[in-house]
């Protein structure tokens, strides 16, 4: 058994305007960092379906995104979030990859999976595209595991440097989920204070001060995130894996290293081992320094492979 990797070349057709940090070159950077990982089980990514998306978003929103896709050039949904002609298909691959990864892991094909698609998802709210994101991939994966597979407890851990406001919005009133987000504060999108706790005490926000490095991050995870995750006893753990808390990232000021990403991955896998049969599905969010994105994603996947054994 190995770790499943879901990537699709259609995701390279989500083209952002020149100079945009969420750029086409991100996935090639990950591909090349994972090139020597011979034991990864590389899977085809099918397109997600409207049923998948509508578990989290409104029909009107889905229709508005479809209608907005340009024949050429770009259309801006907000100051950060742009559609190119290939963006919608790319976004469908992200949804399809996450859903397929949940199916495969829950059917015992592997314990761990990494879905490296773009655009990312954790800022997309129920009826709002924002922060480079169109569809809430990780929340859609959680709903799929609950509604289609009949699980009763799914956890999402989001270590992207920005608060996962979209995932929080989509899972706010979903008592079968626990959403834990660590993120720099102050920073975009401004949400993610500890008093935002979800409709069922099912959201835990752990803001980190600028310049927070590995020692403090590990303390907070050890003292707060991991015990809460352990108490929840998830049957499946999903990760919103953003690599922009890396010290080299241009869009934030945290000081994590590749080893810190490996550590946090291992700590999450420990809980999955205890309660979820080791089942972990991770999906790519941010990470904007191409070199750091490659090395930290590789460190993350290496742990998923070791633990998925």
């Amino acid at each position: 058994m190995s770790t499943l990797l879901y990537m699709h070349e259609d995701c390279d057709d989500h083209v952002t305007p020149p100079g945009h940090p969420e750029q086409v070159a991100r996935l090639p950077a990950i591909r090349s960092a994972l090139a020597g990982f011979d034991h990864l089980d590389r899977r085809e990514v099918s397109l997600g379906t409207a049923d998948d998306v509508l578990r989290c978003h409104t029909e009107a929103y889905l229709a508005s995104v479809k209608d907005a896709v340009p024949a050429e050039g770009w259309v801006s949904l907000d100051a950060d979030t742009h559609l190119s002609p290939g963006s919608l298909t790319a976004a469908w691959r992200g949804v399809g990859g996450c859903v397929a990864a949940v199916d495969a892991v829950l059917s015992g094909e592997a314990k761990t999976a990494f879905v490296a698609c773009r655009p990312p998802g954790h800022h997309a709210e129920r009826a709002t595209a924002m922060g480079f994101c169109l569809f809430g991939n990780v929340a859609i994966a959680a709903k799929h595991a609950l509604d289609v597979h009949g699980l009763s407890r799914v956890a999402v851990v989001d270590f992207d440097v920005h608060h996962g406001n979209g995932t929080q919005d989509l899972l706010w009133d979903e008592p079968r989920t626990l959403f834990i987000s660590s993120h720099q504060m102050p920073l975009y999108p401004g949400t993610g204070a500890p008093n935002e706790r979800g409709a069922h005490d099912n959201v835990i926000n752990l803001p980190l001060a600028p310049m927070t490095g590995g020692v403090e991050m590990r303390r907070i995870y050890r003292d707060e995130a991991i015990p809460a995750l352990d108490d929840f006893a998830p049957e499946l753990v999903l990760i919103s894996a953003g690599f922009d808390a890396h010290r080299d990232d241009p869009l934030a000021n945290l000081n994590w290293t590749d080893e810190d990403f490996a550590w946090v991955t291992g700590a999450i896998c420990d809980v999955a081992d205890a309660h979820a049969g080791g089942r972990v599905v991770s999906t790519l969010e941010g990470g904007y320094d191409l070199h750091a994105l490659g090395t930290s994603a590789a460190a993350h996947v290496r742990v998923l492979m070791e633990r998925g054994g």
Binding site: D78, D80, M130, L187, T191, L251, N253
Partner: protein
């Protein structure tokens, strides 16, 4: 954003802009891409305000008064 370079700003100007930035960051009106630049400008403004306060602490102004007790000027108090 003011055109005045931060190092030439008065304490009040810097505080005013810093408060605006904090408000923007808290409100989520800022773009993801620009959020970090805004935060970094905020950090510089805060450092400038800190320096201005420190300056003021070190330079306690002694108020000079005329015969009727009206303040006519200030004079830097030299810390010995």
């Amino acid at each position: 954003m003011s055109d005045t370079p931060i190092e030439k700003m008065s304490f009040e100007e810097a505080m005013r802009e810093l408060e605006t930035i904090v408000g923007q960051l808290d409100s989520g009106e800022v773009e993801l891409e620009k959020s970090i630049a805004l935060y970094e400008r905020g950090a510089k403004l805060k450092a400038h305000c800190d320096a201005k306060l420190k300056e003021a602490e070190e330079k306690v102004a002694t108020i000079t008064a005329d015969a009727d007790g009206n303040a006519v000027g200030t004079q830097a108090f030299e810390v010995k």
